[in-house]
Point group: C2
Chain length 501, copies 2
């Protein structure tokens, strides 16, 4: 009674991938095989990271030399460990790997992550041969991540990748899979400040056993994962991959960066994880059919995850854009329309009411709304937000703020250059306005807080920006650093609803 797929003949039908993977994502005890006292070695970095992030289960460092590392007793072999071991992180050289995998199998380890490189990605016959031999171990039921990967980050259980010692311990709905470990390391880092939280993040490197298909299938079934994102260079089983995606259509959003779609990119993929790239057109068509949100850079990937997270109810395409400074409005219109969104005029009644509240000169109220200067107080902006809320032709609000003018210039103008910028902040009042309008009209509100300073001396603006952004985010309002990025991310959310409807 075994289920048949490319590599999973050994998986009994009764076991779903949730049953298979959960002991790996939530291990009671783990071993670090190749643990080292040298802080520059993977065997130390991964051990330290798991300790520092606060993994709560048992940790067994393994090294034939024995002794003690980071305050933990070192075991000379897995056999020496008396209790069970669910999971192992392996950092020893490729040549000694097979023996270690035998020991893991004999110990009853349920899954391993192999951080070591020197396999298929080298392009040599020896590397490929060794990887094939490694993958055989998976036939016995022990699942393998890697080789040439950074492993698993699971904030709920306290597993983390290399180097992820300071990743957030707060779990969240994002399941992330990636052939690149470096991207996982970068994303886990930048996610902290953006309030992006993960159910699991998996770097699977060369993917000799576990790869994109299994992880997708797991994430689709995992009740803790609501948004799925990933970076893939090649797919091990195209038909299964597309079938899985099509079965998910209309359920959890899937955001994928398929790299290596150009000829040099495809070549770079081969020496990175040994995958084959495939043509851009084929992938684009397949992704569209399968309802996948396709992105083309790390920034676009992060922004899309962020938008799906902060706009859980989705969003429509008709946008009201409001701020001060006209080029911003013109640029916003261009940006949004190029991405398939629109900036429609307000209805005559709404516009009429709005006109009564503003001076006849120095602003443009029809949408995009340009209030003439960027230092507009929230009490004024609130009137425009209310109009956009009332207008039945508007789905989403984008509110532009430029802290440089609101804080730095206003402080200077008031002759209070010595005082902290936060004293001049519009944030408390604007947040209240956002909350009221959102509650009253149920329309999503996005903030675009543009950054126009790059000087070392202006660092206090960046400090204040991060503080204000955290407050808006905590209240459920996404904050983008440019209009183009806000528009692109919004377009993905809108596009997803169009694809699945």
């Amino acid at each position: 009674m075994f289920r048949k797929s490319r590599r999973e003949e050994w998986v009994p039908y009764s076991l779903s991938l949730v049953d298979v993977f959960d002991p790996i994502f939530y291990p009671q005890a783990l071993a670090v095989i190749g643990a080292s006292a040298d802080p520059t070695k993977f065997g130390n970095i991964i051990l330290s990271a798991i300790q520092e992030i606060g993994y709560g289960g048992k940790i067994y460092p393994v090294n034939p030399e024995g002794g003690e590392i980071n305050g933990l007793k070192v075991f000379r072999s897995l056999a020496e460990i008396s209790g069970p071991v669910d999971f192992a992180a392996i950092t020893i050289p490729a040549s000694t790997l097979l023996k270690a995998l035998e020991e893991c199998r004999d110990k009853g380890v349920k899954g391993v992550e192999i951080l070591t490189s020197g396999f298929k990605e080298t392009g040599t016959p020896e590397g490929k041969q060794l990887e094939t031999e490694i993958s055989q171990f998976a036939r016995g039921g022990m699942r393998i991540l890697g080789p040439n990967c950074f492993g698993i980050y699971c904030p709920e259980s306290g597993l983390t990748i290399l180097p992820g010692q300071n990743f957030s311990r707060e779990p969240g709905p994002v399941g992330f899979l990636s052939q690149s470990g470096g991207l996982c390391a970068d994303l886990g880092q930048i996610a902290k400040g953006l309030g992006i939280r993960f159910s699991k993040m998996v770097s699977y490197g060369n993917g000799c056993d576990v790869a994109a298909c299994d992880l997708l299938e797991y994430f689709f079934a995992d009740p803790k994962t609501g948004i799925i994102a990933g970076y893939v260079e090649g797919i091990e089983d195209g038909p299964r991959f597309l079938r899985l995606l099509r079965d998910n259509r209309g359920k959890k959003p899937v955001i994928l960066w398929k790299a290596g779609l150009t000829s040099t990119g495809g070549r770079a993929v081969q020496s990175h994880t040994g995958s084959l790239g495939g043509s851009a057109e084929i992938w684009q068509g397949a992704f569209r059919q399968a309802g996948v949100i396709q992105v083309y850079s790390a920034e676009e990937l992060i922004d899309a995850i962020y938008a799906f997270l902060y706009l859980p109810g989705g969003a429509g395409p008709r946008v009201a854009v409001m701020g001060g400074g006209g080029a911003i409005s013109v640029a916003a219109s261009d940006s949004l329309e190029r991405l398939g969104l629109s900036v429609p005029y307000f209805s005559p009644e709404v516009l009429q009411k709005l006109k009564a509240s503003f001076p006849p000169v120095g602003n443009s109220l029809r949408n995009p709304v340009d209030l003439g200067n960027p230092m507009i107080p929230p009490s004024m902006l609130r009137k425009v937000m209310d109009a956009a809320g009332q207008d039945g032709g508007i789905d989403v609000l984008i509110v532009i703020q430029i802290l440089f003018y609101i804080l730095y210039q206003v402080r200077h103008r008031l002759g209070r250059d010595g005082q902290p910028l936060s004293r001049f902040s519009f944030q408390p009042e604007l947040l209240r306005a956002c909350q009221e309008i959102k509650t009253r009209y149920g329309k999503p509100i996005i903030l675009a807080m543009l950054d126009i300073t790059a000087e070392g001396q202006m660092i206090d603006l960046e400090v204040e920006f991060r503080k204000e952004r955290d407050i808006y985010q905590a209240a459920g309002f996404p904050v983008f650093r440019s209009l183009d990025r806000a528009a692109r991310a919004l377009a993905h959310v809108v596009g997803f609803r169009r694809m699945i409807s």
Copy 2:
């Protein structure tokens, strides 16, 4: 003996636009008409800005109420001023403007900037009529900037726009023209930290007299301007504009953001400066023919100016990309190739030599070069830079650095979490390597210093980044914050050479 053009019948043939505009950009004495003691009024903001930036000529505040503002005697009218006045900034309401312009004309003022709004951009017949009446004053030889503009920034003479009190006083080669004043304010600010320096920046708003054509013609002739950039919503005289650009072909690079190319963008343009937009295809074709570098956002505009400034000798399309972390290399290849650049393999001899210096596993040396982890010391990176320098098939080097790993993670790994990040910096050694390689092989080197932290707590990384960036910039090496931005900016420089060759 007058030269004929749409508005310039009054310009004698013997006068070039340099002769016409230089007294305006470099005035000996200026008046602020509508000067005010109220720090929220334009009449105070512009006066204060000109004083604070340190304009060296005579400043005459004018206001019928007299008295003293910002320590300066206020004149009740221009006629009261005994000496000559070359230039005037005007901030009084639209209704009293004609009288002020009469006074300026009678006083022999050579040029005025009208910051007041309420003209053509309102879309009303009265607004349009008033603007036509204003423009008549230019027939007498007094040139008019605006209305509905932010004025002139000229670091050499100390003129500045509203609000530009803290703009740099260091002159540079960039001539900037813009229908949007807000964009000028933003650009002047962000330029400071990027080392972008201006000959002149002109916000011309509705452009009732001086507009894009005159400013282009001036910049082409101005020996202090080497790179021209601009934001235009509509062009007052299309044939003259294109003729000017074609005559300049192959000389000074011109980077233009033509906004309002979508239907909603075009509509927004009308209520911003009252211009007509025009279709995207027509503009793209015309720009290509005229050798103009076309950009589509503020970020792209700034990055392109920056690239032309830091790569004065231009650059070729064949790029070597080097760093640690494989997804970066794959992404770089994709990014560059999509933009018409290439990442060719190193020649067999160069690769052979390179392979001898690196371990056989954990890196990919053929280009893009992925050294396996982002904490690669400059001594290792230098070997790759030298190889790329030697290789006849490579034109440009892009070196990737991620300070988070180099500083924060290394410090943590060494157990020195309390120490300042700068102690762990690779910058001095990497800068020396850049300088040596550039001197030896004459190839441009671009740094991509990626930002992967967004948290408030990580602000010290941003502080260190700005410090290191300033040092690289001062030594002539451009620093971009993402690979995509570096690639896009480089592609503009390469594309310009292709267009003009």
